[in-house]
Symmetry: C2
Subunit: 345 residues, 2 copies
DNA sequence: GAAGTTTTGATGTACGTAAATCAAAAATTT
DNA sequence: AAATTTTTGATTTACGTACATCAAAACTTC
């Protein structure tokens, strides 16, 4: 049987109350006594029963999620996962609130963070926009002991406790590597369509993609990046223009959202087969495009995993517990039409 | 506040004892009364506090993991993850035992399952060998209410409760798709090296690979599969022979273990660059080979995720609880040298 | 060594559920 | 309607921890 506080009290030759004082570092214990107890804990290998402790404490975890609004299918998928987590709340002792803010708007995001601060939750998860006012708002949360996890797009150099998202430089590199190999022997430049250079994840994907093409596929020209604001209509216009201007375009890397526009433009121009398209995020539309061959590869981050991971980390950090790093690493899914999962999205 | 059994008793106008009888379907409740209670549960949205219930029950989960022995690096990785789970046991209320059996030996595996049966655990996780005596042994476990999860290699048509592993047909198809695209414009046949056709996962990978090459890359010849028994020395001999016999060999798909042999043979023959190699499982050796360019793509299943998933499912099924399917889907990692995770393996 | 302060012990209640016991009430059978 | 069986209620203990209270003991300090 695993040892309990009673066993420790016996082993250390002190009372239960003293063990309790040590465990919850309450005042009024001489350091000699504290040592005795800590030695007993070590020799017996005592681990606090978190479930029992939470039960006794009646602990719950008020959490706030802040996501960009708009029609971005991936973000709406994230939102759906947050709502699924809300439904599980009673079983997980969480109380989750959801805030939506305009996309790519640092000011609005900072305001939302301030609002979150006012509500004094145990933790906040936020899809970050990389801007000083956001960094500062995060710092203020941390200063009040509120755990902050960035989601999807990170805010390095800020005080955030954890990033729940993929390595976007690696994602960009992966896209570059696959694009380079798939186009072996074919001529023509490749284009990059981003959402906005204001968010870190897009900047990092671009950086990784460019680095690999530059270093490993030197002959391949990369056209200047175009920004589609994650908006399908705008993306369609931009891609159509690209296709017209570059009849020899060999590939397109779409590293943001709005892929409906990408697909529409490619099909409109009758270049769906000819142009190698690599895009991000599995949505109903992108899935269909992958299956039809318009999109060749989809890089994806599993929204469900990200949300569940964020919640696990928020709860653990709120309790000052360690997290299993390997378990919380969000992986880059690479989907070809052959390894698409059946379910959702 | 979330409702408790007391609230249900009040709402239903019955006593606590009756609520308890309904909740834990103990006998001695008229169906009218049972209905009243169930309606109260529904209207209040009561969810059992699993933590409190487990605490009260003093529940623990004795589990047995059965893995193949030998030097297979992936299996040793699995074992390491099982040991890591053992270390977490006190916090997770599990009591995990580990049994190792000779690889590809159905008789030995059936015996191990019988031994596991004798120990009467709550659940068993097993890397299956596809044979009738194994299927029967699994059935006997199930008949005694012991949960069975297959790990890595499945046993469909058996009574197992769940499979914790990747879709191996999809994995094979993915390898085929990538191989076909990477070799575009290059001539020459491709070879397949398996471990043994006795295990389902290898058969399925082969099937998927062949199907894609046959359907999408018709011109590409596939050489007859060779079986390396997941043994590096044997694999090296076989691959060396293949390379000698086929100077124009364009690619090799290694769908089993023993990749040290594959890499050695390729490098020995000076064909590391020329031949496109796709292999399975991230190990220190295969990682090095990927980084050096000898291996072009690694398909991987995360051993840590598989073990943790198996444990979650075993516990849930042992309690008759539902599992979050999407969370338990083990994904096929596709690693290029650009998206290798830093950590372990 | 008396007064004061700090440290420790003893004890009880609470969290939400499980499980058991015994008595009381209701339904069923005779 | 009495006897029997089934169903229900009331109450208690337990799980492992948190937290509070009050008294007793051990240290300081003068």
């Amino acid at each position: 049987m695993r040892p309990t506080v009673h066993d420790i009290a016996a082993e250390a030759g002190v009372s239960l109350a003293t063990v309790d004082r040590v465990l919850n570092n309450r005042p009024g214990v001489r350091s000699v006594t504290r040592d005795k107890v800590e030695r007993a804990i070590a020799t017996l290998g005592y681990v606090r029963d978190v479930a029992a402790a939470n039960l006794a404490k009646g602990r719950s975890y008020p959490l706030i999620f802040i996501l960009p609004g708009g029609e971005n299918a991936f973000m709406r998928g994230l939102e759906a996962e947050v709502r699924a987590a809300m439904a599980r709340s009673p079983a997980e002792r969480t109380e989750i609130a959801l805030l939506c803010v305009p996309a790519f708007d640092a000011r609005a995001l900072a305001d939302a963070l301030a609002e979150a601060h006012r509500r004094r939750p145990a933790g906040v998860a936020v899809v970050a926009v990389d801007a000083p006012e956001v960094t500062q708002a995060v710092k203020r949360l941390r200063d009040d002991g509120i755990v902050v996890v960035t989601l999807v797009s990170d805010l390095p150099g800020s005080a955030r406790d954890h990033f729940a998202g993929v390595d976007n430089i690696a994602a960009g590199r992966t896209a570059g590597n696959l694009m380079g190999r798939f186009l072996r022997g074919r001529k023509g430049p490749v284009a990059v369509v981003a959402g906005s250079m204001l968010v870190r994840d897009h900047r990092e994907r671009l950086e990784g993609f460019q680095a690999v093409i530059r270093d490993c596929f030197r002959a391949r020209q990369i056209l200047p990046v175009v920004e589609g604001q994650d908006d399908a209509a705008l993306v369609e216009k931009l891609v159509a223009a690209l296709l017209e201007r570059h009849p020899d375009l060999a590939g397109i890397y779409s590293l943001g959202a709005g892929n409906r526009g990408l697909v529409a433009a490619l099909q409109q121009a009758g270049r769906a087969e000819a142009v190698c398209a690599i895009a991000h995020e599995l949505t109903p539309h992108s899935r269909a495009a992958l299956l039809s061959g318009t999109i060749d590869v989809l890089l994806n981050q599993d929204a469900g995993h990200e949300i569940r991971s964020a919640i696990r980390v928020l709860k653990a950090k709120a309790d000052g517990l360690p997290v299993i790093e390997a378990q919380e690493r969000i992986r880059i899914d690479i989907f070809l039409k052959d390894n698409l999962p059946n379910g959702q999205a």
